[in-house]
């Protein structure tokens, strides 16, 4: 497998330093940019496989960076943001970011996000016929769902929601993104439809909402499908906990 390149766009030198050390230890090639414009130029010159983007840059607003990049490049973006406001994260995700990590974060959390996003970029889940994780098996060609080999019946909307989550496993989907796809653009403010549907789907999947196995709530932002255990295969000692 060729070495994958990660571009870090972050104005804090300390954060760039520990990211570089950890990422290089995980055999990624790392390039750094301190400013947004610098980062965009680097992307154009040598397109990376993934961008880690700080939302609070001195020159460019994070949302602007994403919007400008998305005009010509689908390269995956993981956003770093401070906790202050979940609306920033939602805006970044809606603008085209693939996932986010809240500062301060543990390196294992970031590594897990990076692996999920890179794996999806390498072999898009959307093109797969079969999805399997923790006893859940979804045959996308036959529209068949089984839990521990026990077939379960889903309504059209429940299946749509599950399919959407499977298409980007481990990545967060905002409420609006789900509502737009499952119900259509006219209904993208009707979050209670979504809450009810998620409740029903969890119920059918035998998911305990207080300790969800499959559908994880990202408070104020959206939902993500739980990270399949198989993804952790290349975890290395230092960030195992």
């Amino acid at each position: 497998m060729p070495q994958e390149t990660i571009l870090i766009v972050e104005d804090e030198a300390q954060i760039r330093k520990f990211l570089r050390i950890s990422l290089e230890a995980h055999h990624y090639a790392v390039c750094e940019a301190r400013l947004g414009e610098e980062g965009l130029a680097l992307c154009a010159a040598r397109p990376p496989d993934l961008i880690i983007l700080d939302l609070g840059l001195p020159d460019l607003d994070g949302q602007q960076f994403i919007a400008r990049l998305r005009e010509w490049s689908p390269v995956p973006i993981i956003v770093l943001s401070v906790r202050a406001d979940e609306t920033d994260k939602v805006a970044a995700l809606d603008a085209g970011a693939n996932d986010y990590v809240t500062k301060p974060f543990g390196i294992s959390e970031l590594m897990a996000r990076i692996r999920v996003v890179l794996r999806d970029a390498r072999q898009p889940s959307a093109s797969q016929r079969l999805f399997e994780s923790q006893g859940l098996r979804v045959d996308l060609s036959q529209r068949e769902v089984t839990i521990d080999d026990r077939p379960i019946h889903l309504t059209k909307k429940e299946y749509e929601l599950l399919r959407l989550l499977i298409a980007a496993p481990g990545q967060v989907l905002t409420h609006q993104q789900i509502l737009r796809t499952v119900w259509g653009p006219a209904q993208q403010e009707e979050t209670h439809y979504l809450r009810v549907l998620v409740g029903q789907l969890r119920n059918k999947l035998g998911d305990d909402p207080a300790h969800p196995r499959f559908i994880i709530t990202v408070q104020g932002v959206g939902y993500r499908l739980a990270l399949p255990i198989a993804l952790d295969d290349n975890v290395q000692g230092s960030d195992a906990n």
């Binding site: 609306t87 209670h192 439809y193 809450r195 909402p209 207080a210 994880i216 408070q219 104020g220």
Partner: protein, 503 residues
């Protein structure tokens, strides 16, 4: 009750009421009729007593004028009908002349006396009325709690008493006269020089156009100005006005003192909060920093000689302490937002299960070692809330429960739905909270004020934030006994809000 000042002077001897004179004539007619009936039975000299009685009645009832009229009429009638020669005004007997003169004299004297007594009574009644009005005024003044009430009472009273427009001026922060209350502010005099009015107005009211300016002075300190729309005030009105003004000034002075005291109390409370915040910041932010700096410098300097377990132990300390620092900062930020009132709710439909799951997930590391059971009733509906804030409230409650739980103490998180409210209960097996402290623990910095309690560090912000966030949602949070009387149950009640629309 308003004071009515009678403009007709009370010592005027001749009343102008025509009814009194008619009464005088009538009583003479009655006396004459009685005299006709009785004149055969008694000596004619004694008949004069009849007329005298009539004159006395008149003078007692009215004033000097009618009683003089009555006595002259009585004299003439008596003379004409009852002294020989009858039916003339001539007098035959000298004794009769003397009787008549005495008669007239006595009528005049008693009439005068009675009239004076009558006027005295009127005066008394008037001054009694005035005293009781003044008493009523001072009662209202002393019970007035704020400046507005004092001014309203003053204006109301003055307007009725003098029956003319009045206005009250108080100095604003720059000392410029500002109209604050009045019956006719539209016609208020423009640009009043307060200082000048205060200096000149001490002896006599200052005339300013059609307005008379009276200073309001309390404790030799001018506090305001009263403008009366009147060409000139009579002595009595002026006297009354001054006493009203004095009382109003004292009341104004008092309400201003009360306001100043309240302000001072607020300032000192803010001061206390600020110093508590500072000590909280310095203590609660520095403690984890001390651990972090200590651990990392140890690793840097002597790391090579440490066993790998010890190195990991120290590194774990750094992570835990840094996370604690992060929680403190989050609390301070939340408190600032709550305190500034800039907390804007972004309500959305949220499943309570999701909130609980996120809160528990965020507290996963601290919760390790404490058995937590979660029991959310199936009928708990979706909540119309700002999910992140409710999650933060639950995190703070969990944090608080952990801080006071004994090792292996069970923690119960339950939720139920009843009467349009969702009740979330978090029970621990800690030492419990004495009933007297159950409200105080929600005050800012309450635990901080109690000083250090061993390892139970707390900023004293956590529960204040919980209450702030829950109250912003129209809910309530209270502390109560644990399930078996042991420990504590924190109880959040949230209104469910909009009914859930069908899918």
């Amino acid at each position: 009750m308003p004071i009515v000042i009678d403009n007709s002077s009370p010592d005027h001897p001749f009343t102008r009421k025509p009814m009194a004179y008619a009464e005088a004539i009538l009583i003479v007619l009655v006396s004459a009729s009685l005299a006709f009936l009785l004149h055969r039975l008694m000596p004619h000299a004694n008949l004069s007593l009849l007329f005298l009685t009539g004159v006395l009645i008149i003078s007692a009832r009215t004033g000097l004028g009618p009683s003089l009229v009555a006595s002259v009429l009585s004299f003439l009638t008596f003379n004409f009908f009852f002294t020989p020669p009858f039916y003339t005004f001539d007098v035959a007997d000298d004794g009769d002349v003397a009787t008549l003169i005495f008669f007239l004299l006595m009528a005049a004297i008693t009439g005068k006396l009675a009239a004076r007594m009558h006027q005295e009574m009127l005066k008394r009644r008037l001054s009694l009325q005035r005293i009781s009005n003044l008493y009523e005024f001072s009662r209202r003044m002393s019970s007035a709690t704020d400046t507005e009430a004092v001014l309203d009472t003053l204006v109301d009273h003055f307007a009725h008493a003098l029956d003319c427009p009045v206005a009250v001026y108080l100095p604003d922060s720059q000392g410029v006269a500002t109209p604050r209350a009045g019956t006719a502010l539209f016609a208020a005099p423009p640009a009043i020089d307060m200082t000048q009015a205060w200096v000149e107005g001490r002896s006599d009211p200052v005339t300013h156009g059609p307005w008379q300016l009276l200073p309001l002075i309390a404790d030799r300190e001018p506090v305001g100005l009263l403008a009366v729309h009147s060409e000139e005030l009579e002595d009595e009105q002026l006297q009354l006005s001054r006493s009203l003004c004095d009382q109003a000034a004292i009341a104004l002075h008092r309400t201003q003192l009360v306001a100043d005291l309240e302000q001072a109390r607020l300032v000192s409370e803010t001061e206390q909060l600020r110093s508590a915040l500072l000590s909280s910041v310095s203590h609660d932010l520095r403690t984890p920093l001390a651990s972090i700096i200590g651990s990392t410098t140890s690793l840097l300097e002597y790391g090579d000689s440490f066993s790998s377990e010890n190195r990991i132990e120290l590194l774990k300390t750094v992570v835990e302490e840094a996370q604690r620092l992060d929680r403190h900062i989050q609390n301070l930020l939340d408190m600032t937002r709550l305190g500034q009132g800039t907390l804007s709710l972004r309500r959305d439909w949220v499943d309570l299960h999701d909130i609980v799951a996120s809160a528990v997930e965020r507290m996963r590391d601290p919760l390790e070692g404490w058995p937590l059971s979660i029991d959310i009733a199936a009928d708990v509906p979706l909540l119309w809330v700002h999910g992140v804030l409710i999650e933060q409230a639950l995190v703070n409650l969990l944090d608080n429960a952990l801080r006071f739980s004994p090792a292996d103490g069970r923690i119960l998180l339950g939720a139920a739905y009843a009467d349009g409210q969702v009740e979330i209960r978090l029970c621990d097996q800690g030492p419990g909270i004495p009933p007297g402290e159950r409200e105080k623990i929600f005050d800012m910095f309450y635990t901080a004020r109690q000083g250090d309690r061993g390892n139970r560090q707390g900023t004293g912000l956590g529960l204040a934030i919980v209450r702030g966030m829950i109250m912003a949602h129209g809910g309530s949070v209270t502390a109560g006994d644990g399930p078996d009387g042991h420990g504590t149950c924190m109880c959040i009640r949230l209104p469910v809000g909009q009914p859930e629309p069908g899918e």
